[in-house]
């Protein structure tokens, strides 16, 4: 019993370690790719590591209160938890994580755990821009969740389950079994939602760095910031893994996972480089418009 538990915890830690490093490198390489797009050399791929170390190495920090402290903890726990509730690699005991805690719905809702905690922590900072950022973020979130939910429903209809492992299992057997092949419309909706979810351009008004200096984390610094940066890597990874599982046939091994998630993320960066930023009300209207229609179409296709 104890061994079983320890094994699982150990596996989870390993899995976590892998996704953290992968996530950091992914961010670094994407920054580099962006730089190439802009005709620059760009920062080193390992720059995210340096930034985190730098933040962690700050000699002092300030705190606005308990919730301010706990904000990054919530955020990181949210990211880590989200990841841990998703089976990262199909059929792998090592990367199975704690996916037996719940199905897709749990993952979808656990995403909010970190966001909520972070929003609260940022708010305690007392900075108006934090609150403005949160208000924008939440407002935008309600909108992009709609196409996402629709595509998830389409998936649920198609595979008659909400169990992620089962969804991945159903997609095994080649490209033509992937959701992206069987129901591309739903996947389009989900990918548009993903743009909003990762707050890249054109949906980056939440953290608009100059207008409301970086939004919610305005007051965060030192190790608190470091945790947020770490979370960004893990959380990104978790979301990518989720998308991969739902729409791109999952992964049977780590390299497959790396390739697939890299490509999914690449779409994201690609769009981000090509489009300017939208105002928050514009992006809400956008998500409730075409993407929602696409999502509904996806559901209908799944029903056919």
């Amino acid at each position: 019993m104890i061994t079983a538990i320890l094994t699982r915890v150990g596996y989870a830690l390993v899995s976590l370690f892998v996704i953290t490093n992968y996530g950091l490198l992914l961010i670094g390489s994407m920054a580099r790719i962006s730089a190439k797009v802009q005709g620059r050399v760009g920062q080193p791929v390992w720059q995210p590591y340096l930034d985190i170390i730098k933040s962690t190495a700050k000699r002092n920090s300030i705190s606005h209160g308990v919730m301010f402290y706990l904000g990054p903890v919530f955020r990181l726990a949210g990211g880590v938890g989200t990841y841990l509730f998703i089976p990262a690699v199909f059929g792998s005991a090592l990367f199975r994580n704690f996916s037996d805690s719940g199905d897709l719905l749990l993952v979808m809702y656990f995403i909010f755990f970190g966001q909520l905690g972070m929003a609260l922590g940022a708010s305690e900072g007392g900075h108006p821009y934090s609150a403005i950022g949160v208000s924008r973020g939440l407002a935008q979130m309600t909108a992009f969740e709609v196409p996402f939910a629709l595509s998830v429903i389409a998936v649920a209809i198609q595979y008659k389950t909400l169990d992620i492992t089962a969804i991945v299992a159903a997609q095994q057997g080649g490209f033509l079994h992937w959701t992206v092949a069987t129901n591309p419309v739903a996947v389009v909706a989900a990918l548009i939602a993903f743009l909003g979810m990762s707050m890249h351009n054109p949906f980056s008004v939440v953290i608009a760095p100059q207008e409301i200096p970086i939004g919610p984390p305005t007051e965060y610094q030192s190790n608190l910031l470091g945790m947020l940066q770490t979370n960004r890597a893990i959380f990104n990874g978790a979301k990518l893994v989720l998308y991969m599982n739902l729409f791109f046939g999952g992964a049977t091994s780590l390299p497959v996972m790396v390739i697939k998630t890299f490509l999914i993320y690449f779409i994201n960066v690609f769009v981000g480089q090509a489009f300017p930023r939208l105002r928050v009300d514009q992006s809400i209207r956008f998500f409730l418009g075409a993407p929602t229609v696409i999502g509904v179409a996806g559901v209908i296709i799944a029903l056919l």
Binding site: Q43, Q47, L50, I53, S55, P209, I214
Partner: protein, 209 residues
Amino acid sequence: MSDKHSIPGPLANEGLPLAERGLFCDAPPRQYQRANKITEAFWNWARAQSLWILGFGTGCGAIELRPLMTSRFDMYRYGIQPRPTPRQSSVFVIGGYASVKTLKRIVRSYEQMMGPKFVVALGSCTINGGMYWDSYNTIKRIDQYIPVDVYIAGCMPRPEALLAGFQELKRIIRAGRGEGQNEYARKFEWYKANQKQVIKDWNMPDYNW
């Protein structure tokens, strides 16, 4: 307001109305211990590789910062990037002359940065007043008000000079000489006195956390 907050300290935010004093932290800045040598060296290396700029466009020099972000100069490749908030920045670039009005903001922003923090003084005006040396409204030497790590002379210095200055800063940091924060804490009374001498309408707290 509890008693704790109404006892005046040495400076005790006395420039503020009584009601507002409780709104600001009244702990003075202090000097921080360095970690053990190896750790500190590692950290300094990381700090040097990840310079986050608080670009403070106090004067004309700020315009020379912008080209650094462009593909021609691309400061990102040196691990340098702009950051919108002092809380997260480690390098304070003071661009050009500092009028009395902006000094107030410079001081506050500087004090709000987390240590270790470094200051790059950009342009002649920050060194000796430059062409504004006899102006009634600018200060002559910025280092009388906050500690400066690197001066980049010129009116205006070119982006290349800036890059050179940042390289110099990196060297200083790696060498463990970027101790402006502790310096400021050590000579806090002196800096504060200088600041107050210039800024007549002092409506700020004395400790800008």
